[in-house]
């Protein structure tokens, strides 16, 4: 049995944490071959080769893979699929764009956001924003899966897999890249951070979000947000935590001015320690919080920041 794992590579750089977590997730399924794609990806491939448990790395370096558009990458994966029973990836937005396309081209179902492997055909995944966990058994010859990073530990490094350069699979010419708007940040990445501080509608403005950021910086944390905070323009979209945003499970999650709608809880309720600061003692966020502080955030957060 063999597994093909699409590594998370952005502009030539390997997302080590996301990729190494997916390696852990699929390790029991068979020999793992990692596929790196990009306009440049030699460095990413070399780095992927150091992840323990990786047997081999394929490096497909071509301009058409530069922005990982779904159509060319899906075609490439399908062209390689003959040798593999499982085709997997970390559940990132890139992979969620690509993998269902791969599955349909192979005439199989996709399993998104898998949180546990029962056996080679049986997998567990959350449904209804994590309000139910479903175990499904696939009858397809090939299994196409994205793994939710927050439930797997990253595989160690120390491996030394071989790297093989492979050619491109042709350009379907259906789409082209125009631009990326990515805010540079010195903070840890949201999905791999050990601490996350999130702000909600209660924070009240983009300007006031600075008090959330100050607390985050004191804790060396990533900054998250509720959908309401993002929709109101207090925070950028890539900070959104929840059912339809990012799923995080840090050691410490601090929810400030967030009511705790199920759609938000879906993205953070597996965090190890949850702190909620909210002025409404009835707020549902307190039902999942280990430590709840009923207070005005404009008093409590600066005080907490200064005392840390």
């Amino acid at each position: 049995m063999a597994v093909l794992l699409l590594a998370e590579v952005t502009d030539g750089e390997l997302a080590m944490d996301a990729t190494a977590k997916a390696v852990t997730a699929c390790a029991s399924l068979g020999d793992v071959t990692v596929l790196c794609t990009g306009a440049t990806c030699a460095d990413a491939a070399a780095q992927a080769a150091t992840i323990s448990g990786v047997g081999k790395v394929l490096c497909a370096e071509d301009a058409i893979y530069g922005k990982r558009l779904a159509e060319p990458v899906a075609d490439l994966i399908v062209s390689l699929s003959g040798d593999y029973e499982h085709i997997v990836a970390p559940a990132t937005t890139d992979a969620k764009n690509i993998m269902p396309r791969v599955a349909a081209l192979l005439d199989v179902m996709v399993m998104s956001d898998v949180t546990a492997v029962v056996d080679g055909s049986t997998f567990e995944r959350p449904i209804y924003a994590g309000n139910a966990m479903q175990t499904v058994k696939s009858s397809d010859a090939k299994k196409v899966i994205t793994f939710r990073g927050s439930t797997f530990d990253a595989a160690e490094t120390g491996g030394n897999a071989s790297v093989e350069n492979i050619g491109a699979a042709g350009d379907p010419g259906l789409s082209s890249w125009v631009e990326d708007k990515v805010a540079a940040s010195d903070r840890p990445e949201l999905t791999s951070a050990g601490v996350v501080v999130s702000g909600g509608r209660g924070v009240g403005s983009e300007d006031d979000f600075k008090i959330i950021e100050a607390l985050a910086d004191k804790l060396n944390a990533a900054v998250g947000a509720s959908r309401a905070a993002v929709d109101s323009g207090y925070a950028p979209n890539d900070w959104q935590v929840g059912q339809t945003g990012k799923v995080v499970a840090p050691n410490l999650y601090v929810a400030v001015g967030i009511s705790g709608a199920i759609q938000h809880l879906a993205g953070m309720k597996d965090s190890k320690v949850i702190v909620a600061i909210n002025k409404d003692e009835e707020a549902p966020i307190f039902q999942v919080a280990d430590f709840g502080l009923v207070a005005d955030l404009f008093d409590a957060v600066p005080e907490l920041t200064s005392k840390l």
């Binding site: 952005t10 779904a70 159509e71 937005t93 890139d94 969620k96 764009n97 993998m99 269902p100 396309r101 599955a103 349909a104 179902m109 996709v110 399993m111 998104s112 956001d113 049986t122 995944r125 959350p126 449904i127 209804y128 924003a129 994590g130 309000n131 139910a132 966990m133 175990t135 058994k137 696939s138 009858s139 259906l174 789409s175 082209s176 125009v178 631009e179 990326d180 990515v182 999905t191 993002v230 929709d231 979209n237 890539d238 339809t244 050691n251 410490l252 199920i262 759609q263 309720k269 320690v273 003692e281 999942v288 919080a289 280990d290 430590f291 709840g292 502080l293 005080e303 005392k307 840390l308």
Partner: protein
């Protein structure tokens, strides 16, 4: 240009989900059902395209049980021109897999020849995030997922996508499949006169067999259980007490 909008009937997003005691699934009997929130955004976008003179006709489609009629009537009341209901299940608890839905939608696309399919990014019941991508693959079309901005210009569309790192803008060839994200627009409410008018708009009823599609699932549901509950926490009285507790827990 015709625009096709697949809309799914799902549990209302405000309803607390209950897992059935026998582990067979989630209890959907006598529960409030609504249009998948992302699909409302897709319908809204399609209507705006028509209002802007970029689309001539908006066709809403739903695949599922007979009751999905109500979802289609909502789309018609919002402003869709006509609707197609593909009955593929009898029991409201049967969820039709994205691959099956995509195959049926392909059959409809072959018949109707739309220039654009606007799907939701994700159904809030199965949380698959797959159908639009699968349909695009089956059609051999371009795809633009998780859209927060869509600009159609003749034979191409420029779409801004919400991705992990921020925003990405791509240009796709038409015809195309776009899946919409939450910030694309604010869907309108249907007015009472429009709800009345919607009752007279055409709603065709079809079956999966009409498109030669076998709706048998590829994934067998082995069990559905409640997620592990978190142990109850405590309320702290001050920032100092919070800090003390966090230190005890080794969290700071």
């Amino acid at each position: 240009m015709k625009v096709l909008v697949p809309v799914k009937r799902v549990i209302d997003y405000n309803v607390k989900v209950r897992v059935k005691a026998d582990g067979s699934g989630v209890d959907l009997a006598n529960v409030k059902m609504s249009m998948n929130p992302f699909d409302e955004i897709a319908v809204e976008q399609a209507i705006r395209l028509k209002e802007a003179g970029k689309a001539d006709e908006v066709i809403a489609v739903s695949v599922g049980v007979k009751q999905a009629q109500e979802t289609l009537r909502t789309a018609l009341a919002m402003g869709a021109d006509r609707a197609i209901l593909v009955i593929a299940a009898e029991d409201v608890h049967t969820d039709i897999e994205p691959l099956t839905v995509a195959k049926i939608l392909k059959g409809i696309v072959d018949e109707e020849q739309p220039g654009l399919v606007l799907c939701g990014k994700q159904a809030i019941d199965n949380d698959m995030n797959a159908t639009g991508q699968m349909l695009s693959a089956l059609l051999g079309w371009s795809q633009a997922t998780f859209a927060s901005e869509v600009d159609i210009d003749g034979d191409s569309a420029t779409v801004t996508r919400e991705v992990d790192g921020g925003l990405q803008t791509i240009k796709v060839k038409m015809p195309t499949v776009v899946t919409v994200d939450l910030r694309l627009n604010e869907p309108r409410y249907a007015s009472l006169p429009n709800i009345m008018k919607a009752k007279k708009k055409p709603l065709d009823e079809k079956s999966a067999a009409d498109y030669g599609v076998d709706p048998a699932p590829r994934l067998e549901i082995v069990s559905t259980v409640e997620p592990a509950a978190r142990a109850a926490g405590i309320k702290v009285g001050s920032v100092d007490e919070l800090l003390e507790k966090l230190k005890e827990a080794g969290a700071v």
